[in-house]
């Protein structure tokens, strides 16, 4: 079992754990975090696949896979930011609703 396989299996496990959390958890914050873990699992699978063992010379990496992961991280950050903002807004609205009626 070489490094690539270990990282790939870990990536798939992370994806599965994240998927379970995103579907099963009740607190909204936890579900957003779980979706992030899912994303990290995918990125790990991609990065593990980018490792190209070279026969003889030094091992190289596949730059396209790295570029994909980088783009994926940017998308994940924006989606998480929107999710967190929505959770905050929901809390504000919920507490605002409660104040008027004693």
């Amino acid at each position: 079992m070489n490094g690539t396989t270990i990282f790939t299996v870990c990536g798939i496990l992370l994806f599965a754990i994240g998927l379970y959390g995103a579907l099963a958890a009740r607190p909204l914050l936890r579900r957003i975090l779980a979706a992030n873990i899912m994303g990290n699992g995918v990125f790990m699978v991609l990065v593990a696949g980018a490792y190209l063992p070279a026969d003889g010379g030094a091992a190289t990496g596949d730059p396209v896979a790295h570029a994909l992961v980088l783009t994926g991280i940017v998308v994940a950050v924006s989606a998480t930011a929107l999710g967190l903002q929505l959770v905050c807004r929901l809390h504000e609205l919920a507490s605002g609703d409660r104040e008027p009626d004693p």
């Binding site: 994303g39 699992g41 699978v45 994909l68 998308v75 929505l86 929901l90 609205l93």
Partner: protein, 491 residues
């Protein structure tokens, strides 16, 4: 040669015009709405040019002059051009409606226009990209802008619906991305054209297709993965609901169609396609049943979307193989076009009803509290297109469906299509009957309209409804472009 190169330039323009329009309208703030409307109008012209240009054959464009294996290419065939055209039409008309719906210069108005343009840019990207990862980015931009638009309604219900939509959307797109990662590891390319030639039915490809399909089905809201849809679509502002139901679902559906029948044509077996069709039939039954029971107009229209999405999947077994492929593809594309126009018209009209009557509880609507004739005609025309009565676009689509079913000998599709039409009639006539309920007026205690609905809003709804009517008359010429010269979606 030069003309073809010029026509190819339409592809990058279709993405950059709405994108730049959105950015400019964000920077300009209060006056941004006019820039955005300008971008929408320009996009509509580009879409018409694309429709004309793809008649001669598919167009391709390599971004930055980097060819396919390394760079990202854009491409459009007749089918993509039709999807681009219907998005252009709906965003332009619903955009015109929004000019009157949102108060100019208000905080909501300033946020709406940039997001609206972003939504269109993402849709165009999905329709013309030839790269699976680029499609992922498009799906995410589409989802994020749609979610942000839902929150514009402002109340806690809308924010809750948006959060749910966001989580569903994230899970769906990450499943899709995992599939992309597996395909990239198996083949080392993400270009649709390159993959179409080398893909087979190996286990990694099957897992990848299953993951990508699950993610896309979740976002396309096929029964039983539709649970997030009614709340999100019903609580958004009217023009946003129109775009969500008419276009956003079709964006992910388009990717699904390409994936199944062009990128990985041999990977899914007939059993998988039949499963989709059975789920489609269940969606028609459940969506129509819930629509017939819905207490509120917008929720009724949202559940009707659940049902109409079912028709798109009903045809998957016919697309898979056999003599009826061409008729089935015609029917799928036409269902998308007809539903986009009719559903957008219906949501816009529902927004007018809500403004005029002050609520949208169907049982409490009275004929004299409804907005003017434009809105009521829009509801009627869009409704008969949803049922599939002639001479509407919905009828043409259903006719092609039955033609395909007859050619393939799939007689059970007849039962589903006809039953679906009856169920649709139940919920559509439930709405139309309110126009004739004049009891309160005759009794001399008229419930007056709360607000006058501007002519712009009435006409916008009516224009889209008339478009769904006109689609029934131009089916032949419109669809002639999607065969033969396309990207070999059907071999």
């Amino acid at each position: 040669m030069n003309a073809a190169a010029g026509a190819s330039l339409l592809l990058p323009l279709l993405v950059s015009v709405p994108l730049l329009g959105g950015l400019a309208s964000f920077v300009l703030g209060g006056r941004g709405r006019w820039v955005a409307v300008g971008a929408l109008a320009l996009n509509a012209i580009l879409a018409a040019l694309l429709l004309a240009a793809t008649r001669a054959g598919p167009l391709g464009y390599a971004l930055g002059d980097w060819p396919a294996p390394l760079g990202i290419t854009l491409g459009a065939d007749g089918m993509a051009a039709l999807f681009v055209a219907v998005s252009a039409l709906v965003t332009l008309v619903a955009g015109t409606y929004s000019l009157a719906y949102f108060a100019g210069g208000s905080a909501t108005d300033r946020v709406f226009w940039p997001l609206w343009c972003l939504l269109l840019a993402a849709l165009n990207t999905l329709f013309i990209t030839r790269d699976l990862f680029n499609a992922y980015v498009g799906i995410e931009v589409l989802g994020l802008s749609a979610i942000a638009l839902v929150t514009l309604a402002g109340d806690a219900g809308a924010v809750r619906a948006a959060l749910r939509y966001l989580l569903v959307s994230l899970v769906g797109s990450l499943c899709y991305l995992m599939g992309v990662a597996l395909i990239y590891r198996a083949h080392g390319v993400l270009d649709v054209g390159a993959l179409a030639g080398i893909s087979g039915a190996t286990p990694p490809e099957q897992v990848a297709l299953a993951l990508m399909s699950a993610g896309l089905l979740l976002k396309t809201a096929l029964f039983p993965l539709h649970f997030w849809l009614p709340e999100a679509h019903a609580s958004a502002p009217a023009p946003v609901s129109a775009a969500l139901s008419a276009l956003v679902l079709k964006g992910t559906f388009f990717v699904l169609l390409r994936l199944w029948f062009e990128v990985l044509p041999a990977t899914a077996g007939p059993a998988a396609a039949t499963t989709e069709a059975v789920l489609g039939a269940a969606a028609i039954a459940w969506g129509s049943f819930m629509a017939a029971r819905a207490p509120r107009l917008k929720r009724l229209v949202a559940y009707s979307t659940v049902a109409q999405i079912g028709y798109l999947f009903l045809l998957f077994p016919l697309l898979e193989a056999g003599p009826a492929q061409a008729a089935a593809l015609d029917a799928v594309v036409y269902f998308v076009l007809a539903h986009a126009c009719a559903k957008a018209a219906m949501f816009l009209a529902a927004g007018n009803v809500q403004s005029a009557a002050g609520h949208d509880r169907i049982d409490d609507l009275r004929g004299d509290a409804l907005p003017g004739a434009g809105t009521q005609f829009a509801l009627a025309f869009a409704g008969i297109s949803l049922i599939g009565l002639p001479p509407t676009g919905g009828f043409a689509a259903k006719w092609m469906l039955l033609q395909g079913a007859a050619e393939a000998g799939a007689w059970w599709l007849f039962a589903v299509a006809l039953g679906g039409a009856l169920l649709a009639a139940v919920y559509v006539f439930r709405v139309l009957a309110r126009s004739f309920d004049l009891t309160s007026m005759l009794a001399g205690r008229a419930a007056p309209r709360l607000a006058r609905v501007s002519a712009c809003r009435e006409w916008s709804a009516l224009v889209l409804a008339l478009a769904s009517l006109a689609l029934g008359l131009v089916a032949g010429p419109l669809l002639s472009g999607i065969h033969g010269a396309g990207f070999a979606l059907i071999r």
